[in-house]
């Protein structure tokens, strides 16, 4: 099987599952389709020879964030909290906006023919974890450290928000 066929299959699967995230009536199904979409995107990373990104994508998104999404949605009583269906005006407005965006994108793509990367400059090891780590700790050291401070602040903030204040109830 040629690699481009795998790419087409994977892309079709990604788009289909991403569509199902929006179209599914049940929020739990939506989340599960979203998890599947993340798997498809991880498959694309493997095709790009970026295995580290693939693993991190699965660990962070599919393994942690989506589990928490499921966790929260399972706490809802879905029968009571049905969102009321949108009026036809909202639907019409949404379709017009989405259609305009689609036309814009197609026009953009037709105007600018994207350059394929030259085969001579292509390095197959770019996505490997060793290359990535060296790049992060040399060329992009400052942004990397700043991001880690940002994460640290967010973590402390989450702990502060979650902390029970004195005299508050236990549950």
């Amino acid at each position: 099987m040629a690699i481009s066929n795998i790419w087409y299959f994977l892309s079709a699967l990604t788009l289909l599952s991403a569509l199902m995230v929006v179209l599914a009536k049940n929020p739990i199904h939506s989340v599960l389709y979203l998890v599947f979409t993340f798997f498809c995107i991880s498959g694309h990373y493997v095709l790009l020879n970026a295995q580290f990104l693939m693993a991190v994508n699965i660990i962070v998104y599919a393994g942690a964030i989506m589990v928490l999404f499921l966790f929260v949605i399972m706490m809802f009583d879905l029968k009571k909290n049905q969102p009321e269906s949108k009026s036809s005006l909202t639907k019409l407005a949404g379709s017009v906006v989405a259609g305009t965006l689609l036309v814009l994108f197609i026009a953009l793509l037709r105007k600018n023919t994207l350059q394929a990367p030259l085969e001579a400059n292509f390095k197959s090891q770019t996505g490997m974890v060793e290359t990535l780590g060296k790049l992060l700790y040399t060329e992009y050291l400052l942004p990397f450290e700043l991001i880690s401070i940002l994460f640290f602040v967010a973590m402390v903030g989450a702990v502060m928000l979650g902390k029970r204040e004195a005299g508050e109830r236990n549950f």
Partner: protein, 374 residues
Amino acid sequence: MELLSDLFLAKAAFIGIVFAITLGVAAYSTYFERKIAAFMQDRIGPDRAGPFGILQPLADAVKMFMKEDFIPANSNKWLFIAGPCLSMLTALMTSAVVPFGDTVTIGGTTFDLQGIDVNIGILWVFGIVSLGVYGILIGGWASNNKYSLLGAIRAASQNISYELAMGLAIIAILLFTGSLSTKAIVEGQQNGHWNIFYQPLGFIIFLICAFAECNRTPFDLPECETELIGGYHTEYSSMKLGFYLFAEYINMFISGAVMATLYFGGYDYPGIDFVTAQFGNNVAVFVGMGALIGKSLLFVFVFMWVRWTLPRFRYDQLMGLGWAGLIPLSMYNVVVTAFGILIGKPFTAGVVGVILLIVGLFVHDQLFVKKKIA
């Protein structure tokens, strides 16, 4: 991509053998679980099916398949079926990156006794472990039963909490090896330089996290019978229940293999040079594969031993241990390990780190913890 090349067939055969070993071990774990429980409680245990009850797993399987397969009304049928399937799938996927042995040469062709040797091996294990909770979560929710849901929610929060400490314990190993590949981690430990000697604290953290990730006693709160009937598998019957229980035993075996890979030298064993000199490379490699499986079985025994020795934790104790106990401890471990590598004496730093920790805990206990007056 040639589909029927020698390499592909060899890999397929190897993965098939690994699956067969894993499933066989998991089936017989149920038998030994009962035998060990019986031994610890001064009973005889299963002894009816065959000599010493050795056919008991077979009888259990027949029983599981013959029982009525029940799907509760108002449950989400597809997700109800998907739950145990996902549990089995994620349990079996981890073994792909565990290196079961070095390379063997049969008929002039060299085979690698490992499913896939990727340079992100340990991240793969970590990713699949974090996916393992989906089977329980989906099954518990789809059952349309509040006890199942409570069990599923407990499983989710427990797994996420203990993943963090597990990841930090792995980071200390990666500091030693400098590679994410499981093969490189094992090759760095050959000739008796096992990571357990340099990372005793890290190993204890990893072991506790493995208990929590496998939902084994003392952390089996998702299926806590005293509070939640059967937890996430309350509504399950027949082989669907069987798959959930089976997945737990597979997880035990595979996490034993991962612990052996990370901390106990993988397929390394004492006297490997002697065996190589006497019987050739291939025999030595297969003995190494046996050594790895033996180490994993030892861990399976530890899992059972703990199950029949310790009582279950309370849920707030579990969360407290994970967040306030293990995560600071593993961060301390990472710092000590990094310091040891910096000064070039990892072994001394590890020992001094453990001693300092014990002294610190003792001083803290004496100074700040109020004693109850007896």
